[in-house]
Symmetry: C2
Subunit: 124 residues, 2 copies
DNA sequence: ATACGACTTAAACCTTGGTTTAAGTCAAGA
DNA sequence: TCTTGACTTAAACCAAGGTTTAAGTCGTAT
């Protein structure tokens, strides 16, 4: 199986190496393998798990909640329902946050309209 | 003109008083009036400015950028074009962030589908 | 042989966005 | 009068999410 060094993984995921080390310390990189010299080896599975972590981070899940999710993955099939429930709840949170952003955007667009009109009027 | 105490303003805006004091310290509450005893007096204008600040915060504008916006408001009409440009740029940032969240949500929904299927299969 | 680049660690440091604390002022009601 | 509640301040504190630093270990190309 192909393995990536931390530098390669960082480049593929477009995040700093220091962040990958930080994530490992926080428990987000379970069962990470090492070579004889102690260097981390990222498998394809680790990379795709990190992509999932990226989705969760982009949608503002906290590191401690992501850790709970990872812990459940490690625990195995008995936690599938818990994981499903977590993802469903998170989806609702994200939809609510997107709604709030869209609502707030209306207030911003109103400012844009006002300022645009004021600039137009000033030209008359 | 009607004025609100910090407690009333906090209740109307549904944020802690300490946050209002913090915002003032950061320069987000310009020209705030005081009564003879030194207590803050929030006008209707201040409240509606704070509602705008809320829109900007909900869409993840940083406090220092919000301060720049407020400073331009204080500066007067000569900054309308700068404010318009800021709001237009911010709108684009917000739309990009919403897109990213929607993209990431797809990855989450994929998990939901997988877990749902696995639970269904386990029942066969 | 040695120097370089890529890796390792623990610990210190940083920013953001507040919240909490301690000590004090003031107005109003009992 | 005295206490209670709502306010004031400066400064300390906090959590999250990293980033940076310092010191060290490898493997490899010169």
């Amino acid at each position: 199986m192909k393995y990536y060094s931390i530098g390669e993984a960082a480049a593929r995921l477009n995040i700093p190496e220091s962040t990958l080390r930080f994530y490992e310390k926080k428990g987000l990189l379970p069962i990470i393998e090492r070579d004889e010299a102690g260097r981390r080896l990222f498998s394809e599975d680790q990379i795709s798990l990190l992509v999932t972590v990226g989705c969760l981070k982009n949608t503002h899940m906290s590191i401690s909640e992501i850790k709970q999710y990872i812990d459940w993955i490690i625990e195995g099939d008995s936690t599938i329902e818990l994981r499903l429930e977590m993802m469903n709840n998170h989806k609702q949170d994200v939809l609510a946050e997107i709604s709030l952003m869209n609502e707030s955007l209306k207030g911003i667009e109103e400012k844009i309209t006002r300022y645009t009109n004021r600039i137009q009027e000033a030209l008359l």
